[in-house]
């Protein structure tokens, strides 16, 4: 299924690019180097770059693949960029990073390159991605693909027990408990998501907080951790654990472990990122193929749902020696055409609203039709140059709470003490 689309799409693109077997003999004049993470489908990026190189015979683009987690990629880029290494021209960065890149002066601002069409170009992107990439009025990066957290559920099990897909956390808990009780399978967990001390766990805290109408800071940038909403995530996860909806080892589950367990048929619900779909439907040994449903995350009321925004951006490093060529490349990589290619080849969510309704895209990803409103309303994790510290503080406390080593009061206290000085950095 996937392979067929893959081949068909490559073929179509190859034809569109106008190469029918004749190899260009011209020697490349510019070599660009682009960094991507192991999780952002470097294989697909290479396909796309082949098209680009066909159209631009004077340019060669090499791909460098780094660590698989957002933190690992950033650790690596920290060492490369702190050493002002000029060999990377373009880096693919997580949606949470542009502020840090702007502050550290690692990314070349793109306003000068965009020139007069700056506002027109930026206006075409989904609003969340337009905002994420403009820091203090300057365009720091261009979006490559979008991502968000969704609720994946076992459609077969819910149908079997006559349960509607949940729209609130209460419905979700009841549904999970009912299915677990009736299935009577000790290996079946009710609900899985990331709980280990990793980046994804920041969302495990933020999602219910937003769902309760809260936010980490108010419009003036002041911490809002003394509000009832800031406490809701702790109450929710504590209740889920007490009722055995989440498994005892929730605090050691990383994003992909949740995916693996769900894919092995060992969970009813799974709050996870868009890439899951491709694995559930595409993997040869998937135990849940055609038995999965995907819906927006629940809220505390049916209309209060919120989700965490993800996705990856293309930045030109300040140390690149081929900035104009790099700019030309990222304009191509951040185009509706490439968004469509990625959607078909990798199930990557487009950063342009119109691509979601493209018939070819919908054929490969029928659920994208419902995904668009989710991405349009998805929320951003805190935007700050000190994001690495902010993230570490939130995820460590969430993880400690899930592990039962810190109470909600202790966690909130620690977060307040340590986040307050960081929030002063603007």
């Amino acid at each position: 299924m996937n392979r067929r689309f893959f081949t068909a799409a490559s073929l179509a693109l190859a034809l569109a690019a106008g190469f029918a077997g004749e190899a260009e003999a011209q020697a490349p004049t510019t070599t660009l180097r682009i960094f991507t993470g192991g999780q952002q489908r470097p294989d697909v990026m290479r396909q796309i770059l082949d098209v680009y190189m066909q159209r631009n015979p004077g340019v060669r683009v090499d791909v460098e693949v780094g660590g698989a987690t957002s933190e690992q990629q950033q650790q690596y880029l920290n060492t490369v960029l702190a050493s002002r290494d000029p060999t990377l021209d373009v880096v693919l960065i997580d949606v949470i990073r542009p502020a840090q890149y702007a502050a550290a002066q690692w990314a070349e601002p793109l306003d000068a390159f965009l020139g007069a069409e700056r506002d027109a170009v930026m206006a075409r992107y989904l609003p969340a991605y337009r905002e994420a990439n403009i820091v203090n009025g300057r365009v720091i990066a261009l979006p490559y693909f979008a991502d968000a957290q969704f609720l994946f559920f076992r459609r077969d099990l819910l149908e079997k027990h006559g349960i509607q897909p949940p729209r609130t956390w209460d419905q979700l808990r009841e549904a999970a408990k009912t299915v677990m009780q009736r299935e009577n399978n000790p290996n079946l967990a009710g609900f899985l998501t990331a709980g280990a001390p990793i980046e994804g766990t920041v969302c495990t805290y933020m999602v219910p907080m937003w769902g309760a109408g809260g936010n980490l800071t108010n419009a003036q940038g002041q911490l809002q951790l003394n509000t009832p909403a800031a406490r809701r995530p702790f109450d929710l996860w504590a209740q889920m654990r007490a009722e055995n909806v989440t498994p005892p080892n929730i605090a050691e589950i990383v994003t992909d472990r949740a995916r693996q367990n769900f894919q092995a048929g060992n969970a009813v619900f799974n709050m996870n990122w868009a890439f899951n779909w491709q694995r559930f439907q595409g993997d040869a040994d998937s135990q849940v193929r055609d038995r999965v449903g995907v819906i927006p995350l629940p809220g505390f009321t049916p209309d209060s749902a919120a989700t965490c925004i993800g996705g990856w951006q293309l930045a030109i490093t300040a140390f690149s020696r081929n900035k104009q060529a790099a700019y030309n490349l990222i304009r191509f990589l951040s185009s509706p055409e490439v968004s469509k290619m990625q959607a078909i080849l990798a199930s990557h969510m487009p950063v342009f609203a119109e691509v979601y309704t493209d018939p070819d895209v919908l054929r490969a990803n029928p659920w994208f039709a419902q995904a668009l409103p989710v991405v349009q309303t998805a929320r951003s994790r805190p935007v700050t140059p000190a994001y690495p510290q902010v993230s570490e503080i939130i995820r460590t406390n969430m993880n400690a709470f899930l592990a039962g080593t810190r109470t909600a009061d202790q966690a909130l206290q620690d977060m307040t003490t340590r986040l307050t000085p960081l929030m002063a950095i603007r």
């Binding site: 999780q39 460098e64 698989a68 050493s83 994003t255 995916r259 092995a264 993997d283 998937s286």
Partner: protein
């Protein structure tokens, strides 16, 4: 011994079994795991032997990440740092044992005291030194610190070996017209070959195993070593344990062959050189 004779063989067997199982078990376990599919791995109850063995993981190891490059980097970094370390330590050890240096004990102590500083705490300045020398993400960023990492071990092993070579042998060679260096090369080095070899293997394994400095000073694919390469297989969106297992097996095999081939030299070297005093 007060033990009855028939029990002695049993004791031998149990002793051998305990030591061997303790040593081999984890490696065997990942060997089995490396032939399982992800679904089989997630199955409850767990299986010990793969029910439907697959080579897919081994193929994925080479296609997902350039592990051959990691192996090459590790090999070159370990080899070059070992050569550097053994050469530098041998010269120093020889000077301390043979050439009438003022208070060799103090020099040796100073040398060791300096190398005793945890290199890990020097992570930051080393990062900056390598950055200003433009050596970050090159083999040299690791070769130099690794040579220092193994210097105390190598120097001590070689000092104790050199002490065992009768000075008369060298004097005889020098009377025959050899220079000091000539005597070192023709008489002392061949006699201490086991010691040099032991020191070399220890340095090699130390360099092969190091993780933190490699993660900090050379994480780039072009210079990435095996421990870093494999650890970076696990990700936020992927913990592909069967593939990691296959990668571990591939990484463990060369070093296992090395120690299996030279096991007598290693243990023998440790026995002879290590504890002499």
């Amino acid at each position: 011994m007060t033990m009855p004779r028939f029990n002695k063989t049993a004791v031998l067997w149990i002793a051998a079994l305990v030591v061997a199982v303790n040593g081999f078990f984890p490696a065997l376990w990942i060997l089995f795991t490396s032939f399982k599919t992800e679904t089989e791995l997630m199955r409850v109850p767990i299986t010990i032997f793969p029910t439907a063995p697959t080579f897919e993981n081994y193929i994925r190891v080479f296609t997902d990440q350039p592990i051959h490059l990691f192996l090459w980097n590790s090999f070159m970094v370990a080899t070059l740092s070992t050569l550097l370390c053994v050469t530098v330590s041998a010269l120093a050890a020889y000077a301390l044992v043979r050439l009438r240096m003022p208070s060799p004990g103090l020099i040796l102590t100073t040398l060791l005291a300096i190398t005793m500083f945890p290199l890990i705490s020097l992570m930051v300045p080393l990062f900056q030194v390598m950055r200003s020398l433009e050596l970050l993400n090159t083999w040299w960023a690791l070769i130099l610190p690794y040579a220092v990492l193994s210097m105390p071990v190598c120097t001590m092993v070689l000092v104790s070996f050199f002490q065992d070579i009768p000075a008369e042998l060298e004097n005889a060679a020098m009377i025959d017209g050899c220079s000091r260096i000539g005597a070192l090369w023709h008489v002392v080095i061949p006699l201490t070959a086991p010691g040099v070899f032991t020191a070399g293997i220890l340095a090699f394994v130390n360099a092969w195993d190091e993780f933190l400095l490699a993660l900090t000073l050379a994480p780039r694919v072009s210079a990435r070593t095996v421990p870093v390469g494999i650890t970076l297989y696990q990700g936020e969106f992927a913990f592909p344990w069967p593939i990691i297992s296959a990668a571990l097996v591939i990484a463990i095999v060369p070093i296992s062959i090395l120690i299996a081939v030279f096991q007598e030299r290693v243990v023998g070297g440790l026995t002879q050189g290590g504890m002499k005093g």
